[in-house]
């Protein structure tokens, strides 16, 4: 389990845990919740990330502070 901020560029991750109540609520509203898969479109490496939660849902920039509070695990790519 790693913070989303550390996830690799282009990887697919599953959300394991979100720390912080208010943030969690906000993220669920944006379609990011425990158990959901995210594609890391862009990561600056221990910094902010751009993620995509699903097809037809726009991309989100998550600042470093937010990306550190989302714990994820990498999901092997299925093509």
């Amino acid at each position: 389990m790693i913070p989303l901020a550390f996830a690799r560029d282009g990887s697919l991750v599953r959300v394991v845990m979100i720390r912080g109540g208010g943030l969690r609520r906000r993220l669920i509203e944006l379609g990011i919740s425990e158990g959901k898969n995210l594609r890391v479109v862009r990561s600056l490496g221990h910094g902010p990330v751009i993620v995509e939660s699903a097809e037809n849902s726009g991309r989100l920039v998550l600042g470093f502070g937010v990306a550190m509070k989302i714990m994820v695990e990498e999901v092997p790519y299925e093509r």
């Binding site: 944006l30 379609g31 037809n56 726009g58 600042g63 470093f64």
Partner: protein, 686 residues
């Protein structure tokens, strides 16, 4: 606003980046009244739409994702819906961001809104290879769904028709989400308690919605319910139900938001029809370079540089024209007016017109800067910049989003302070508003150019550039400092939608440019007028009384004015380590009203005309060494941009923060200027 009784009221809602302003403009013809929402400084835009000769007031709600108590904008939106009970709400969905838009639509339905859904950006969805079946969505939601392309106006007529129909036949779909047997039972029980114990609540809130919010533990709602008669009974019933359910379902709030989101996913999967698969989009290609780890920031810097060049180069002829028209023709014409007492002519010409002129000369460069910035913003690039700088900004405990006010600050600090509004976290927002004035605005540039050009010779260019870098550097450092000592805690970080790159729309860009430029004009204009009159008074009078209205043009007379008294005092008591003489000190005092006035004042005080004359006088008089000149430039950069910016901070954050900003900037400017002189002397510079 018109006193005429309105017939109907319609509100526009939507998540950010759905083209809401454009729809607002298309519906209302672009005419809007701007006010503030009660109690907060979030702008409220109201327009008018005429349907069959009937007046309909259109209220633009803030861009929001949901209706929670966690964001000020969301509380504003839902309070408006609860308090003002608009006759209909148009919820604008983005076809390319359907899930998030639908979440808002569902939240609005739950609140009992009489909803008309505008499915916008259907053209962009098509480009991405899918379409949204709006008829299916209409039958699933049970409210009208109108596909539109706001950029071309397609579907706007149909939207008008749908609004008109909705005004006459109200549809309510508050039960759009099914929370499952247990929770639904609890909601029903709680509704019963509300109706029997505190019926006053039913008059105000839709009971189902109120029950849902109470079960979710919405802080704002809990507080309001506790204040009505028997409210405590309702709350204790709610908390009992909540703990029973939580024993079974875990955190109830999460559970309910999750159910709502599941409904949204279900809706979105049912209505999205994929028509073709597409490979890599243009946005992906652009982003592979523009958000690149190594290339992204250099590219952003070059873009910023181009923006500056564009603003300064293109504006020069316009600025010159305005300068001639106001500061020469109008000024001289007023001075030559017959029948006007001499002092009145001087007050008008040297006080008011010169002051307004000093501001107007900056209008072209600021307008062009904001034009270029609006193009960058509307293309979607600024969200990328916020992403790129986030890592650096985080070291200083600031969110990447703070970059936007800092860049706007290069144009004018007044809209920069206001732009901090878009930052969600309160502490992040306050800190950003407090450091935004350190961004070197366009009014400071003439001071650097004149002084640098006169004293620093070949290194002038580098010195000027270093001012911009120093400004940003100190903004970051002060941000860190404030977070460390005054607004403790870490930055909340930020979440920002990353829109696909879009060709900016001319009307949208023009509107944004005008809105920011207007703020500069009116805010700056009103304050400067007042201060200019004061300065004029201090210049034409002295300890020995009225000096004559020609004091402003006569260095000898001026040296006996209050301004000179003040300048001398400043030089002897405050600025003695820097070695600035009374004219330089007095010019700084004048600079409070607007930075460029420093140049004009120096000109008057040294008895020369024109920029070249002033530069020659500065170079020959030896009142500045390269070292004290550089310290002077740094002081000009850091000490309070202008009275208008302070007034804006007062409006946005309150008087306390305006005084705080004034104090910290003066102190910072003094310490830095002193540091430059001391360290410079120690290493042997003169």
């Amino acid at each position: 606003m018109s006193v005429k009784e309105r017939q109907f009221r319609v509100a526009l809602a939507g998540i950010p980046n759905v083209g809401k302003s454009l729809i607002f403009n298309k519906l209302t013809g672009g005419k809007a009244w701007v006010g503030n929402w009660p109690g907060v400084t979030v702008e409220k835009k109201v327009g008018r739409l005429v349907l069959d000769g009937v007046d309909v007031e259109v209220v633009d709600l803030p861009g929001i994702y949901g209706l929670t108590a966690y964001s000020a904008d969301e509380v504003i939106a839902r309070d408006f819906i609860i308090e003002e009970k608009p006759d209909a709400i148009v919820c604008i969905l983005s076809a390319i961001n359907l899930e998030r838009s639908l979440y808002l639509a569902v939240s609005l339905l739950e609140l009992g809104a009489n909803l008309v859904v505008d499915l916008n950006m259907v053209d962009l969805a098509q480009k991405e290879g899918y379409r949204v079946d709006h008829r299916r969505l209409e039958s699933l939601l049970g409210v009208p769904v109108i596909p539109t392309v706001a950029t071309t106006g397609q579907g706007i007529e149909e939207l008008r028709d749908a609004i008109r129909r909705a005004l006459h036949e109200r549809v309510e779909r508050a039960r759009v989400v099914d929370y499952g047997k247990d929770v639904e039972e609890a909601i029903a029980t709680l509704e019963g308690v509300i109706r029997s114990e505190a019926p006053v609540l039913v008059e105000k809130y839709p009971p189902r919605w109120l029950s849902i919010k109470l079960l979710e533990g919405d802080a704002v709602i809990l507080e309001r319910v506790s204040k009505v008669q028997n409210g405590e009974k309702v709350i204790s019933a709610a908390s009992k139900l909540k703990s029973e359910l939580e024993a079974k379902l875990g955190d109830l709030e999460t559970y309910m938001v999750d159910r709502r989101y599941k409904k949204v996913l279900e809706l979105s999967q049912a209505v999205v029809v994929r028509e073709s698969s597409i490979g890599v989009s243009a946005t992906d290609i652009l982003d592979s370079i523009l958000t690149h780890k190594a290339l992204g920031i250099p590219f952003a810097l070059s873009t910023l540089y181009l923006l500056f060049r564009f603003a300064f180069e293109v504006s020069t002829p316009f600025a010159d024209l305005l300068d001639i028209a106001i500061n020469r023709l109008l000024h001289d014409w007023v001075l030559g007016l017959q029948g006007l007492p001499e002092w009145a002519a001087s007050l008008l010409a040297d006080g008011i017109i010169a002051g307004v002129g000093a501001v107007m000369v900056f209008l072209p460069v600021i307008a062009l800067f904001f034009l270029g910035f609006a193009i960058l913003e509307d293309s979607g690039y600024m969200a990328r910049v916020a992403f790129l700088v986030d890592k650096i900004f985080n070291r200083f405990n600031l969110p990447g989003k703070s970059i936007v006010p800092l860049i706007i600050g290069f144009g004018c600090n007044v809209p920069a302070v206001m732009a901090a509004r878009t930052i969600e976290d309160e502490n992040d927002r306050k800190v950003t508003a407090l450091i935004a004035p350190l961004s070197s605005c366009s009014a400071r540039l003439p001071v650097y150019l004149v002084i640098g050009g006169a004293i620093l010779g070949a290194s002038a260019g580098f010195a000027v550039l270093s001012m911009y870098i120093l400004g940003i550097l100190f903004a970051l450092l002060m941000g860190w400092f404030f977070r460390r000592f005054f607004f403790k805690g870490v930055s909340a970080g930020f979440i920002m939608e990353l829109p696909p790159y879009l060709m900016p729309r001319l009307d949208n860009v023009a509107m944004k440019t005008w809105e920011r430029t207007k703020r500069f004009l009116f805010k700056a204009g009103s304050i400067i007028l007042l201060v200019m009159i004061l300065v004029w008074l201090l210049s034409v009078t002295g300890p020995k009384g009225f000096l004559g209205s020609n004091a402003l043009g006569d260095p000898e007379l001026l040296s006996r004015s209050w301004v000179a008294v003040l300048g001398r005092w400043l030089s002897e008591a405050v600025f003695f380590p820097m070695g600035w003489d009374w004219r330089l000190s007095a010019a700084l005092f004048f600079g409070f009203l607007a930075k460029e006035v420093v140049v004009g004042t120096l000109g008057v005080l040294m008895g020369v005309e024109g920029v070249e004359g002033l530069q020659r006088a500065l170079a020959e008089s030896h009142i500045l060494t390269p070292l004290t000149a550089y310290a002077y430039m740094a002081f000009v950069l850091l000490y309070v941009p202008c009275a208008a910016t302070l007034a804006t901070i007062r409006n946005e954050l309150g008087l306390k923060y305006a005084i705080f900003a004034l104090a910290y900037m003066l102190l910072l400017a003094y310490i830095v200027a002193l540091g430059i002189v001391v360290i410079g002397s120690l290493v042997g510079l003169t």
